[in-house]
Symmetry: C3
Amino acid sequence: MPSKIAFSPSEKLQRVRDKAPLVHNITNYVVMNSTANALLAAGASPVMAHAPEEVADMVGLASALVLNIGTLSAPWIDAMLLAGRAANAKGIPVVLDPVGCGATPFRTETTERLLGELRIAVLRGNASEVLSCTGCSGRTKGVDSTVGSLDVVEAAREIARKLGCTVAVTGKVDVVTDGAQTLLVSNGHPMLSRVTGTGCAATAIVGAFCGAGDDPVSDAASALAFFGFAGERAATSAAGPGSFWVAMLDELSRVRPSDLAVGARIERAP
Amino acid sequence: MPSKIAFSPSEKLQRVRDKAPLVHNITNYVVMNSTANALLAAGASPVMAHAPEEVADMVGLASALVLNIGTLSAPWIDAMLLAGRAANAKGIPVVLDPVGCGATPFRTETTERLLGELRIAVLRGNASEVLSCTGCSGRTKGVDSTVGSLDVVEAAREIARKLGCTVAVTGKVDVVTDGAQTLLVSNGHPMLSRVTGTGCAATAIVGAFCGAGDDPVSDAASALAFFGFAGERAATSAAGPGSFWVAMLDELSRVRPSDLAVGARIERAP
Amino acid sequence: MPSKIAFSPSEKLQRVRDKAPLVHNITNYVVMNSTANALLAAGASPVMAHAPEEVADMVGLASALVLNIGTLSAPWIDAMLLAGRAANAKGIPVVLDPVGCGATPFRTETTERLLGELRIAVLRGNASEVLSCTGCSGRTKGVDSTVGSLDVVEAAREIARKLGCTVAVTGKVDVVTDGAQTLLVSNGHPMLSRVTGTGCAATAIVGAFCGAGDDPVSDAASALAFFGFAGERAATSAAGPGSFWVAMLDELSRVRPSDLAVGARIERAP
């Protein structure tokens, strides 16, 4: 039986607004603009930098590092490793979005390399991406999931234990677990899947919450509840995916901690 | 005298919605986000990937490949050739957008190289870009056309025959021809030229229709009619280019096959 | 005591609309789309190109060159130098946006190199970026300023004299100076800081005005007044940063020279 949570998503949102954490993103070309705008709207401060000459310096200013393997190429993997090591040395959280993992060996191998060489705080993907990370079943069709996320609670726990990190599998219900504690987040709206980069933006928001917080499982779940709740509110006025994303950016800035206190739907899994 | 067409644009749109073809794009940085969103809104599934390590694998999952030479650099040409050969081997359509062809020798030579080494299904550009592809007259000013597209029906036919592919020259009236059959599409709106990347998005939608279809001339013409018709509807509520593009994404998802049955304006050229 | 200006911002906007100057941008991935759309909306013609094979050719078609060091990497510095030399040789204005200068040695050194090797017409940044360019005080937090721009009138004059170019320091009040003449622009709205890339777009608009004009100080001040005034109008209808940017693009196209004649707030500094 699901039970109540012992933390406050609204306090975590307040902390993001108060601290305005600088989130360093090494992410894909498709979503750089939308990710930066989502972070700014939510109250965080984004920076994008990938040159080997500066990634460690930029990590030195940041509160969190977000790595995203969409539109990947070899030089960017080097940058991710350099930045990730600097973040690990500094002790700031590293959040990994394995976009399209499972779709090609290059993405799967890169994900495994990043997971192997870096200490990842949160791995955030859809079911097929996360399952592909560790050689489990699940096929990725392009960058969209082909496995329902509720089927994967047990798999997520096992992967979290195996990797020693928090795993956040997003879908109709998001599963966030470190293997011991498991949270289910049921905020969100189908329109989120009609706009490119919403998963990537959610990952960046997880980075913002982790950068302002200190507990990856509850931080990540709060971030996903916040993002999903903003999506629910945005959908009420949207005529299609274009106006939905505009409203989404508006709502990421308009949702107050008190709104989230009412709107967040997070439960502890049995 | 123009005459009626023997195919149904609305059935072709329905096929895109039913099949949700995965369209692999190797395109320019400026339009990656807007192109992905246009494809998603229309009902297709976009993926962007350019690393030599994975382009052939990604083509293996795709129904169409779209190559676009904006913000070109040498490594991306290699990726386009690799991906294009894989697409040719697999037998999926390759659609080429020669952005800014004629503006610099680098773009003109790259276009000619891609046309020479790959089997292109559809070449989609404005008049000066397409005319520049083959050393004809027409000067490109940046990435905008300086030749009216209606002047180019004969030139388009000649180029199509010479290249052995379908040529789609967009402008006030779009000309789509394989040298034998020629279609004229008169959907569209002047606002489309006030937003960056609308031509690139149109090319990607041509990729989606070709990926879901089997006849490049009628597929490309249907795609352009659909795109132009969505633009007409979007313009009715737009206060400027910002709100126009938002409405455009909404309309790409809202236009139903039955709407297109009424709204498409495609004729056979005399 | 501030005094009236001796030029007409509205005539300068009219010139942009009449000439539709081609602005060649070598800029960061985050803002390529939004910058291109801002230029198009304002009435200019954007092109993005960074390949060493073509930057000089593209400069040959352009009326202004805009260099922006966000998401910088080594090959892009080479492209900026090549393009900058071609622009200097041709005699078209080069506008530099030192995004995040001061945040990392890589960005600071690159800015100094570009300033050293090229003849820059206008350097446009926030206070900490501009102060960092020349080893003055001021710390950059990511890409946001930590120094109020009004404190920097004297510093801006000194930097302008030292660099021998026009310096535009944007903030609550924008300071534009070549060391001799100093203009203060008080248009703008706080919402502009809630959207990514608005500073970069402002720089590109400066490029458009300089490309259509002949006096960097008054051209840059007019561009910033135009951009800020469009922001003021956009803010009246915005519900958040998403709808603000949409309205901003609309207003960049809707503001007429006659509107700017009334709305521009530019003064000569004492």
